[in-house]
Amino acid sequence: MDIPAKSIFKTLRNYWVLHTANSSAAVLLFAAAGPAQNCDYLSELDLEDLLNIEVISASKREQRITDSPNAIFVITAEDIKRSGAVFVPDLFRMVPGVDVVHSYGNTYGVSARGFNDRLHAGCLWWLTVKTYTTSFRAASSDHCSQTRISRGN
């Protein structure tokens, strides 16, 4: 079955590291593509097709999520739309093993390992977008069409 997600990944171009961290710390990857895509097809996929969703975050090349060398959780465009999240960190509340705390305003702490904190520095954020000028913490979930989280590298 042809999975349109493939074409989404082909549109991913520029990687900007917004927040670098000690390489031994937990690593969280975040990727988002430009315009929102219609992802109604996801509800029609059976389990096998869902396992065949392709990701590029782990090895920087397209591969099936089941072939990825680390645990990846995919938040689809459908999840983003239906979550109603205003800020990107709110999306991570649905990810198993990720701790999200809202400090105040647009300030969040997100941690995949160890103790969380406001402005937690144990994560690496990768943003893939077409036009993006704002900081991660203020990033609106409207700008995302897919998010991939990789816990622990």
Partner: protein, 92 residues
């Protein structure tokens, strides 16, 4: 834990619930205990005009008017309940 419902008339109801256990936060002003809490987020939306327009109403943190999620040296701030409406236009 989450649940998505889509009805044939364009209405959809999306619910997400989270439970977060209690935690102790260490700050300069002493330790702060943050109680465990349930968080409930909900979105209802209705699509109109051949899916060209979507009206949505989103409620976040519906179970509490205010609750703290973290604490640090600058103080303990509480997360508020948030309710907002949204109109989305789709054009292809």
């Amino acid at each position: 834990m989450g649940s998505y419902f889509s009805f044939s008339n364009g209405f959809s109801l999306d619910i997400q619930a989270h439970y977060v256990d209690h935690a102790k936060w260490y700050g300069l002003l002493g330790n702060v205990d943050i109680d465990d809490y349930f968080r409930l987020d909900m979105k209802i939306s209705q699509r109109l005009l051949q899916d060209g327009v979507e009206l949505s109403l989103v409620g976040q943190n519906l179970l509490d008017k205010l609750h703290p999620e973290t604490s640090d040296s600058t103080g303990t701030y509480e997360t508020e309940r948030l309710i907002y409406g949204q109109i989305t236009f789709y054009y292809r």
